[in-house]
């Protein structure tokens, strides 16, 4: 990471002892709303003792909460993980206003600035859903907005892929510790996400294993940080619907893609639409709808890197750089070998994180 994170955190802990307790409580799996009154009544040592004895039920948490904050800061430094407290400037402003928002977030990379939209859906998606999610991810990135999703299998991963494919930035909110590569097949995608200037965040401290019950709460971060939630494919029961319902509770507009009536993987979206979610049909339709909420797409394109979004064909390269087709083809091939561009079909796109 380019920012010197650890001296920052260590210094802050020295300056503000409360931050240290908040960090310790987070490691103990306890929200400070519950812990801070204890802190007031019993003092630091007493609070930790009481939390260790009663507040945290499980042995792991009991031991975890006792580890001093400074030691934690050292561990996080080793992992390259930053901590952003609620109330910090770096904490996503929209999320900070939400009730029940996490007290602090563990962050890899840096949370990109700008309006954000979430794309969520089922893990067991059809290729139709996967393609659509990728297209949405691309469209959102091309508009210069931030894409938030959960890096899960299926729709989430496809949306992230669409974003990184066109060099956009995104945020993945995990339901486990940041040091755990879950799901394992998305390890490369994680790296690409970070390389393209995105962030991977979690409210859970490093070392937290992925457990089913941790995922619904993380969905409130996805919907809370986004200005709109787009559901691509979802069954009636599932994480995507939890996110959508949380979003509705939080007053975040929800969009859903209609599907076949009677098809289980479309039922969630169809129900959302019946209950008042905005139907969206295709990527351009989505962008048109989102513009009303997120504002006009950022003009991140300039003539120089216009092709970053559309890709460049050998022919276009030849015309725009006054080369022969042969030279253009050779140039693009060399760039591909060097890892600067990637090819999809007959077009070349800037490789994710290749110094744009």
């Amino acid at each position: 990471m380019n920012r010197a994170t650890l001296p920052g955190l260590a210094e802050r802990l020295v300056e503000d002892a409360a931050l240290g307790w908040r960090l310790q409580f987070a490691f103990g799996g306890l929200h400070p709303d519950a812990a801070l009154p204890l802190l007031g009544a019993h003092g630091a040592e007493g609070a930790v003792a009481r939390v260790a004895a009663a507040g945290a039920r499980r042995a792991r948490s009991r031991d975890a909460v006792k580890v001093p904050a400074v030691e934690r800061a050292g561990q996080l430094a080793g992992l390259g993980i930053e901590v952003v407290f609620r109330g910090d400037d770096a904490y996503p402003a929209r999320l900070a206003d939400r009730q029940g928002a996490p007290d602090l977030l563990f962050v890899l990379g840096s949370w990109p600035a700008g309006p954000a939209a979430a794309v969520v859906g089922t893990r067991r998606c059809s290729s139709y859903g996967r393609n659509l999610a990728t297209a949405y991810g691309q469209a959102i990135a091309n508009a210069g907005w931030v894409l938030i999703s959960g890096l899960a299998r299926g729709i989430d991963g496809a949306a992230h892929r669409g974003t990184v494919a066109v060099g956009g930035s995104g945020v993945a909110v995990l339901g486990c510790g940041l040091d755990i590569a879950y799901p394992r097949e998305h390890a490369t995608l994680r790296d690409q996400l970070l390389e393209s200037g995105g962030a991977i965040v979690s409210e859970y401290p490093p070392g937290t294993p992925p457990e089913a019950w941790r995922f619904p709460p993380r969905n409130r971060i996805i919907s809370g940080a986004a200005q709109a939630v787009v559901v691509v494919e979802a069954a009636i029961k599932g994480g995507a619907l939890i996110t959508a319902n949380t979003a509705l509770d939080q007053g975040v507009p929800v969009f859903a893609t209609p599907g076949d009536v009677g098809k289980a993987s479309a039922a969630g979206c169809n129900h959302l639409i019946r209950d008042g979610a905005h139907p969206v049909l295709d990527p351009s339709d989505l962008i048109a709808e989102l513009e009303l909420i997120l504002g006009p797409p950022r003009q991140t394109r300039d003539a120089q890197n216009e092709w970053a979004w559309e890709g460049i064909s050998v022919e276009r390269m030849a015309v725009s750089h006054a080369m022969t087709i042969a030279e253009a083809a050779a140039t693009l091939s060399r760039a591909e070998l060097a890892g600067a561009v990637v090819r999809h079909g007959d077009r070349y796109y800037p490789a994710p994180g290749a110094g744009r």
Binding site: Y128, E327, A329, S333, L337, D346
Partner: protein, 487 residues
């Protein structure tokens, strides 16, 4: 009383002489044909008998025996009617003995009229070899008369055919080459500069090329332009092509443009590679000999059909096994294939969304077997982009491109053979610059190239260097070649 007339049987595309021997003796009134005739040949006796009567000739009483020799060569079809009739006439009447000194082929109508048959071109070739005049039905004669050095006579009736051997025939006028066109011109293709270039390279090196892309990007049009980029057929090639076509009953001689065949994906196996029940006929792969075989919608071809093409394309000939014999047809073709990337066609398209399930895509791809795809030196992807079409300068006409192709082919022929036909050791011996070798190594290192792909890219790079009139194969040539290998 005995007479002998020479006729022809096609073995594969090769015309073999068949002696039609006729023997007439006194005795029971019997007409027998021996020498492995098929039903159509056996029925000749009825046609010959009627044609004789209706031409005002006397059909002999007594025993008539016709032997088709060599006896072990299967003879089929109605084309032996005319030689049998001529032989019979010569056998019964010394005045007409000269009528048998011809190479004859033709079907007789009951009224004595001569009807069109296939294989006339083979008869002309045989006549030239044996120094005999050739008698054919008028239409077949016009096709065959194109062959230089052959004395070809056309006849409308049995009566006219008799006159030929007696020296009173009228030489057939060669059919004038109809306004042939080598297909569309490359100038008609707007944009798609990368694909045009790849096509030029394919033409220059004789490389097989696979184009994938959504419907409507111009894959078919590009493929149809291919014959216009290739050098004209040499006289020997023209003869080979004409023989192959004659075996299928088609006429194609004096045409300079390489043939272009585009079988539909519903074609049967015999229609594609040759054979079939009864008389074996050459398939599309043989009709495309010395030319272009274009497989449009490759993904729609059934897998067995595609696999059956592998050996003919690799070997340049196709062997059709028949009961008791095998027949070899030539099949030296340049292969062009076009395919959608997936069943709906829009995978990897910039604009439209692909609606195929991953399973459907996998199934579609698995039809095109890996070993078959490996035959393609060039594999390119085309996409529909409005700006690409409009951005390009107006396309170069085929004639300009063909000039470069011919120059590049001359360089290759000076070395030996086309780059696509070079053996691996021969490629090693080409003049590789160090930087080019390093570039290839780099491509393998970053997993951009499989060992097989490495081999293919080297051939293509050699052709690019030839087009570039370069004596060495440089980094730029290799780099460009890599661009035409979509994985």
């Amino acid at each position: 009383m005995f007479a002998k007339v020479t006729s022809v049987a096609l073995v594969g595309v090769d015309p073999q002489p068949v002696d039609v021997e006729v023997h007439v003796t006194n005795g029971r009134s019997v007409f027998t044909i021996v020498g492995l005739p098929d039903t159509a040949v056996r029925e000749a006796k009825e046609r010959v008998r009627a044609a004789f009567r209706n031409s005002g000739l006397h059909f002999p009483g007594g025993t008539v025996v016709v032997n088709l020799s060599p006896a072990d060569l299967p003879k089929a079809g109605s084309a032996y009617d005319l030689p049998i009739a001529l032989g019979l006439l010569a056998a019964i009447d010394d005045k007409h003995a000269a009528a048998a000194r011809v190479v004859a082929l033709g079907e007789l109508g009951l009224d004595g009229a001569l009807r069109h048959i296939r294989g006339g071109f083979g008869a002309a070739l045989l006549g030239r070899r044996l120094g005999l005049p050739v008698v054919l039905p008028a239409e077949a004669a016009a096709d065959a008369a194109v062959l230089e050095g052959a004395e070809v006579f056309g006849a409308g009736t049995l009566g006219e055919a008799i006159q030929v051997g007696l020296g009173r025939g009228v030489p057939a006028a060669p059919r004038t080459a109809s306004g042939e066109s080598p297909g569309p011109d490359l100038a008609e293709v707007r944009g798609q500069g990368g694909a045009r270039r790849a096509l030029e390279i394919a033409a220059a090196g004789g490389h097989h090329i696979l184009m994938s892309g959504p419907p409507g990007v111009g894959k078919t049009l590009l493929a149809r332009c291919m014959p216009s980029l290739l050098p004209a057929l040499s006289p020997e090639d023209q003869l080979e092509v004409a023989l192959a076509w004659a075996a299928a009953g088609l006429s194609r001689f004096g045409m300079l443009a390489p043939p272009f065949r585009s079988p539909h994906h519903s074609a049967t196996l015999p229609a594609l590679i040759g054979g079939g029940s009864g008389v074996p006929v050459p398939g599309e792969v043989t009709l495309a000999h010395r030319g272009v075989l274009f497989l449009d919608e490759l993904g729609e071809f059934p897998a067995p059909l595609i696999d059956s093409l592998r050996q003919p394309i690799e070997d340049g000939h196709v062997v059709v096994a028949r009961k008791g014999s095998t027949i070899t047809y030539p099949s030296a073709v340049q292969l062009i294939a076009a395919t959608n990337p997936c069943p709906c066609g829009f995978l990897d398209d910039g604009g439209q969304l692909c609606i195929c399930s991953q399973r459907a895509i996998d199934r579609y791809r698995s039809r095109m077997s890996g070993p078959f795809l490996d035959r393609f030196d060039l594999r390119i992807h085309l996409s529909r982009v409005a700006h690409d079409r409009l951005a390009g300068p107006p396309g170069e006409p085929s004639s300009t491109v063909r000039a470069r192709v011919i120059a590049a082919r001359k360089r290759q022929q000076a070395r030996g053979s086309l780059n696509s036909k070079l053996a691996r050791a021969e490629i090693d011996e080409l003049a590789w610059e160090d930087a080019a070798v390093r570039r290839l190594d780099e491509a393998v290192d970053v997993n951009r190239l499989s060992p097989r792909g490495w081999e293919r890219v080297r051939r293509v790079a050699a052709t690019i260097a030839d087009l570039d009139e370069s004596t060495v194969i440089a980094d730029g040539h290799v780099s460009e070649a890599l661009a035409y290998r979509v994985t």
